[in-house]
């Protein structure tokens, strides 16, 4: 076990510890808060990168917490999917945090910044934990941390709509957690194990003995993760929560948090349940049709929105459908596309939310029709928004094209051209609601507050530029991340 192996634990633990130090710093050394939070996330990101290198060169590895062997101790399994997810989560959240350091001063009441960092770090640590863990109960613990922290960063603004949205989220998320806990209990009941590897070894035998228990566990799992990942029609909490939260929160919630549940479900479905389960139950068909509904309905709802953040939130409902669709078409290309879309959509949606946040920060305008001419007065956020929107539509040489290419190719290859056409239809709908905004932004005279925005701080410009360049970079050179994604999909499918 070399030093890199320990990084897998440290990548989770360090942000967790830092999270609890934040209130202390906030009281005694206020200036330390921001650097400490950035440092913790930066470390996590570097650790994820080191692990990715390790996994790509030497293959996946297990890490035993406290050196306790699996049935007793918690085990982490660092494989392709895990490092891919960890890299996405830490990388994008780091960029968002840079933006947040400035934006939050404006959105939050003074004195709350330290608490915000606490919640933010908890959120990221729990997501990295979910990506890495190989223990189903540990997964549940991280799910809970994530849910509470997410609820916290929505409600921290303490306006009426934020609290309402947070409450809605809390109730539905608790429902999801309950389903998840029941599912875990059922699995534990029939197998006697909590470790993924052990459960998956015991399940084929248990399937024969207690088929109904496992069926129920699967159903509960689907609902639990579905609610948390906002899979249509379980998405009702998302538009309110994501649109009312402070912009960095929206970016991290829409870009990252809903994806991690999709990834967790993916891990459970492909790594824990035996392959026979897909023939025995229509779980993938259900997932496929739910994602189809999500894609169509999410885009439809987005078209009629007037509020920029609400529109982006509904767009996320549609985009999470892409991810699930990629997971549910059992084909290496589609799965690669789905996994890749986790990363690509994280970048695009984070950028779009941050750009929207920049518009709101500088002008206070949220209505789409009032953003006329914003491209002239705020070129950098408007350019970022344009790149993000084009990536959403899937214009070639943006990263959105790459994931769409793999998804459609997978749908065709898997003999399901219907779903290929669903993705195309949705791209058209994306065009219908994103492009008029861009046109509006660049053609037309700015009026009112849009004409004279306050200057955008550098800390908020740089993340937009980084994400915008990233979207183009990973569209031009997808091989940077594609190797990881395609190996992850092959490993999951056992190829």
């Amino acid at each position: 076990m070399n030093a890199t192996h320990h990084l897998s634990a440290l990548a989770i633990v360090l942000p967790l510890v830092c999270a609890f130090l934040m209130p202390l710093f906030d009281r005694w050394r206020r200036g330390w808060c921001t650097p400490a939070a950035l440092g913790a996330l930066g470390f996590s990101f570097a650790a994820s990168a080191a692990m990715a290198w390790q996994v790509m060169t030497a293959g996946p590895f297990y890490y035993r917490m406290g050196n306790w062997p699996p049935p007793w101790g918690i085990e982490l399994y660092v494989d392709y999917l895990a490092v891919f997810t960890a890299l996405t989560m830490t990388g994008v959240s780091l960029v968002i945090l840079v933006y947040a350091t400035k934006d939050l001063l404006h959105e939050l009441k003074p004195g709350l910044l330290g608490w915000y960092y606490t919640l933010y770090l908890l959120l990221i640590a729990s997501m990295v934990g979910m990506a890495l863990t190989n223990d189903i109960f540990n997964l549940f613990v991280f799910v809970e941390i994530c849910a509470i922290a997410a609820c916290g960063i929505i409600s921290i603004k303490a306006t009426k709509e934020c609290l309402e949205a947070a409450f809605k989220y809390l109730v539905l998320s608790a429902l999801g957690s309950g389903c998840l806990l029941l599912a875990i209990a059922l699995l534990y009941m029939v197998t006697g194990h909590l470790n993924f590897t052990f459960i998956s070894q015991a399940l084929p035998e248990a399937m024969r003995l207690y088929p109904n228990n496992i069926l129920a566990a699967l159903a509960l799992l689907l609902v639990g993760m579905g609610v948390k990942a906002a899979l249509f029609p379980l998405h009702v909490w998302l538009p309110d929560a994501h649109s009312s939260a402070p912009s960095p929160s929206s970016a991290v919630l829409s870009g990252l948090v809903i994806k991690i549940y999709a990834v967790a479900l993916l891990k459970l479905l492909y790594q824990v349940f035996p392959p026979g389960i897909f023939e025995a139950t229509p779980v993938l068909t259900i997932l496929l049709w739910m994602s189809t509904m999500a894609i169509i309905a999410g885009s439809m709802f987005a078209i009629v929105q007037e509020d920029i953040k609400k529109m982006l939130a509904y767009s996320s409902v549609a985009q999470i459908g892409y991810v699930f669709m990629g997971f549910a078409i059992v084909d290496p290309s589609a799965l690669t596309g789905g996994i890749l879309h986790v990363f690509n959509h994280a970048m695009m949606k984070a950028m779009l939310f941050l750009a929207a946040g920049a518009f709101i920060y500088c002008t206070g305008v949220r209505r789409l029709s009032d953003l006329k001419g914003i491209g002239h007065t705020m070129p950098i956020p408007a350019a970022a928004f344009t790149i993000g929107a084009l990536a959403m539509v899937g214009i070639p040489l943006t990263n959105g094209f790459i994931s769409k290419w793999y998804l459609v190719l997978g749908a065709l290859h898997g003999g399901q051209p219907v779903f290929a056409s669903v993705i195309l239809l949705s791209s058209l709908l994306n065009g219908v609601y994103y492009l008029p905004i861009i046109v509006n932004a660049f053609f037309g005279e700015p009026q009112g507050r849009v004409a004279e925005p306050r200057p955008l701080p550098r800390q908020m410009q740089v993340p937009l530029v980084v994400l915008g360049v990233g979207c183009l970079l990973f569209g031009l050179f997808p091989s940077l991340i594609l190797g990881l994604a395609s190996r992850a999909s092959q490993a999951l499918l056992g190829l």
Binding site: L412, L428, G431, P478
Partner: protein, 494 residues
Amino acid sequence: MGMATSFLPVWIVMFPMVMTLVIYYVEQHNERMRNALAVATSVVTFLSVLSLYPYIMAGNIVEYSMFQLLPNLEISFRVDILSFSLALLSSFVWMLVSIYSIDYMCKEHGCNRYYPVLIITLASCMGIFLAGDLFTLFVFFELMSLISYVLVVHEESLEALRAGYKYLIMTIIGGLALFFGIIITFELGGSVSLGGPALITVPSSLAFFAFISFLIGFGMKAGMFPLHVWLPDAHPVAPSPASALLSGIMLKTGAYGLLRVIFHIFTPGMLQDAGWMIILAVVAIITILLGSAVAITQDDLKRRLAYSSVGQMGYILLGMSILTERAIIGNIFHIFSHAFMKSTLFLAAGAIILKTGKRSIRELGGIGRQMPFTMFAFTLAALSMIGIPPLSGFLSKWTLSLGAMDAGLPYFVLVLLVSSLLNGLYYLPIIIAAFFGAEEGHEHGLVKISEAPYKMLIPIAILAVSCLLFGLLPTNLPFDLSRVAADYLLRGGF
């Protein structure tokens, strides 16, 4: 037949692209420099394309592979005789239009947007024609379509924005259809290269979807019925030089794409056996008749020209659906002659609009006496449209008709004749009124209208003379290129 790797195709595409940035930088300081650079860029691009002439005519193919995006999916360039012909045509017309733009645009707003967009559209157009695989073609096709939106809505009037919205949505639909077609081709053929053997040789339902997708994607751009709806709105609202390019050149990218699809993705034989070409033939006939018939009812000069483009693109599609050698020659030659004719007409219309501000045909009485030179060029191009010998339009119609006869489809000739009659019905009244009609406005004591500046007249003159020369001379460059290109397409070599 030789193959060679050369950087020249990349240069032809990248040079205008880089110059776009230079122009964007320069125009912040110096407007004259901007105009000069725009013209210089298009001239250099044209000369660069021209420099390939001896090499291509000797029967060689130039290839260059830039980089691989995904496995088996790369950005590559490949210049064969067809690519070369169209690139030469486009860069030539582009050069004239950018010269024309200098005086036309000087009274317009937003020139600092117009010129960079003009040049980057040239780059993407070159990219389409020189693309070595379907994916590269698609990338540049999308780039051109999206960027030319800026040209369409240049006026920023409500009308322009509405037309632009229609254009944008149709572009997205077309782009997605192309994407679908390309990905099916990739799935069935394992590659999207245009250089290799045909990729889909067995008819299947998926292959049929691919064919329909290509038809939608490229047909949308080519103004094919029923996807032409954006064209009559979008082309007239653009500034006249941009209309000339939109109608004269950019429509042809759709036709070019379809040619590539028919000959390189599928095989003509397979398409005919499977009966899929009938679809193309039927929509082509409807496009011809509809475009010409609706043009008669239009009163706006540029709108009438735009509908005429729909009809003319129908000829090109029809030639493609017949697939005999002479039909293909006629088809490619019509791409040339229509480019010359339609740019002449739009540029002449632009000169009239600039000088008089009149767009309505009813108000154009006597304009031929005030602007004799412009109207003479207009007349030449219009007569060529109708197909009066010895103009170039006659030669393309003649060749197309011969091709239809070869295929034993005489009723196609009938369609061409009816359409010519319709063309006569909507072009001749303009000309008659212009030269013999009563002048309007004189009794109100308006200022005397004179000819446009010479920088606008020279491009019009060159294009109008081309219409005449390329019909008058039995052997001319476009016709030779069309012949060799048709030969190359049908026999797969020289």
